[in-house]
């Protein structure tokens, strides 16, 4: 079998083969160890996948992990009280799009990227809700940053935090006065695990006033 393989570099048929294991990882999708093959030309000492066996294995594994990404991310949202229909509406996706991605296990590459973005930054759903209007987006971004600072700059997974806050008083509330969001108030209340009492008022984008007690 190995005698039929030809080195693409020097043309020699003196090829040896070996196997090794590699870990493929996908954020939110987990990891999987795969067995890969490597050829080695004993004449010119060039290593490589001369039989093109690895690409198929890698592609299948990447597809499998990406399908898991969709399931894991959508489960995170659903478990935290988000409805897929509402997310589809906010993101202007046809109804049942997210459910189809989840059930078929064959999401588009763009779909996986979108889900990773909203999983990393769930406040992007608020931005989508505001029709991606630039000023609103900036204010939501600033308020999220303030929330981060008010929590002693601790990285808190918002989806996990939301589940906790549902059981006690809400940690943060947005108040939008009108569609253009010229005024926004953020109230941070104390919770059992985190003593916090702050008020933030944003009148216009450049003017920030903040009081913390």
């Amino acid at each position: 079998m190995s005698q039929q393989i030809k080195c693409p570099v020097c043309g020699s048929t003196d090829i040896s083969s070996s196997e090794h294991y590699e870990l493929l990882s996908e954020s939110y999708g987990g990891s999987k160890e795969i067995r890969l093959f490597q050829n080695f030309c004993n004449s010119c000492e060039t290593p490589g996948d001369f039989e093109h066996r690895n690409d198929e294995i890698i592609q299948a594994t990447v597809d499998e992990l990406k399908a898991k990404v969709v399931v894991h991310i959508l489960n995170d949202f659903v478990e935290n009280g988000f409805s897929l229909s509402s997310m589809e509406r906010a993101l202007e996706l046809p109804q049942r799009t997210l459910a189809k991605w989840k059930n078929t296990g064959k999401p588009s590459a763009a779909g996986v990227s979108l889900l990773k973005f909203i999983r990393c930054f769930p406040w992007l759903l608020d931005v989508a809700e505001q029709k991606f209007e630039f000023q609103s987006a900036q204010k939501i971004f600033v308020s999220t940053a303030y929330y981060f600072i008010a929590n002693n700059s601790k990285y808190i997974d918002p989806l996990i935090n939301k589940a906790e806050s549902q059981s006690s008083s809400p940690l943060m509330t947005y108040t939008f006065n009108d569609n253009s969001i010229t005024n926004m108030t953020i109230n941070l209340h104390s919770s059992a695990s985190n003593i916090l009492h702050s008020d933030l008022t944003i009148n216009r984008a450049p003017e920030l006033s903040c009081t913390t007690r």
Partner: protein
């Protein structure tokens, strides 16, 4: 002959799109592409190159391939530096006239890893290593 690297890179990029079967990634190219650039397969890598993925391409150097398998005809390694969005990169290719294909010898960040050597930091003083 001075601008040979221009012809080489143009023909290589064209080959990635038109005759991908004649472009052969060797050594750790595919592993590095996976590790550093999230490019998982040979097809993805060649499509990336063929579709203008190598931005701000700058010629680095031309050097005789030390591991050439025949002494009868020298083969040359052409290396280039590039950017992909904000990521810097280094690519080295060989026009294999003997077999009639292209060898993609290196595809990784200019200084692999977090511990660049003195040669990486002071290339003019120490000289270039064959990456």
């Amino acid at each position: 002959m001075i601008d040979d690297h221009v012809r080489v890179i143009k023909e290589f990029i064209a080959a990635c799109g038109n005759t991908p079967e004649k472009v052969i990634p060797i050594n750790n190219v595919l592993h590095d592409a996976r590790t550093y650039y999230k490019i998982f397969t040979k097809r993805e890598l060649l499509e990336f190159i063929a579709n203008g993925g190598l931005e701000q391409l700058v010629f680095d150097k031309r050097k005789q391939w030390e591991k050439n398998f025949t002494q009868q005809r020298p083969l040359f390694v052409y290396s280039f530096k590039f950017k992909s969005l904000h990521l810097p990169g280094y690519i080295a290719i060989i026009e294999n006239n003997i077999i009639g294909n292209w060898l993609l010898k290196s595809f990784h960040p200019p200084t692999k890893g977090n511990n660049p050597t003195l040669g990486d930091k002071f290339p003019n003083l120490i000289g270039h290593s064959e990456e």
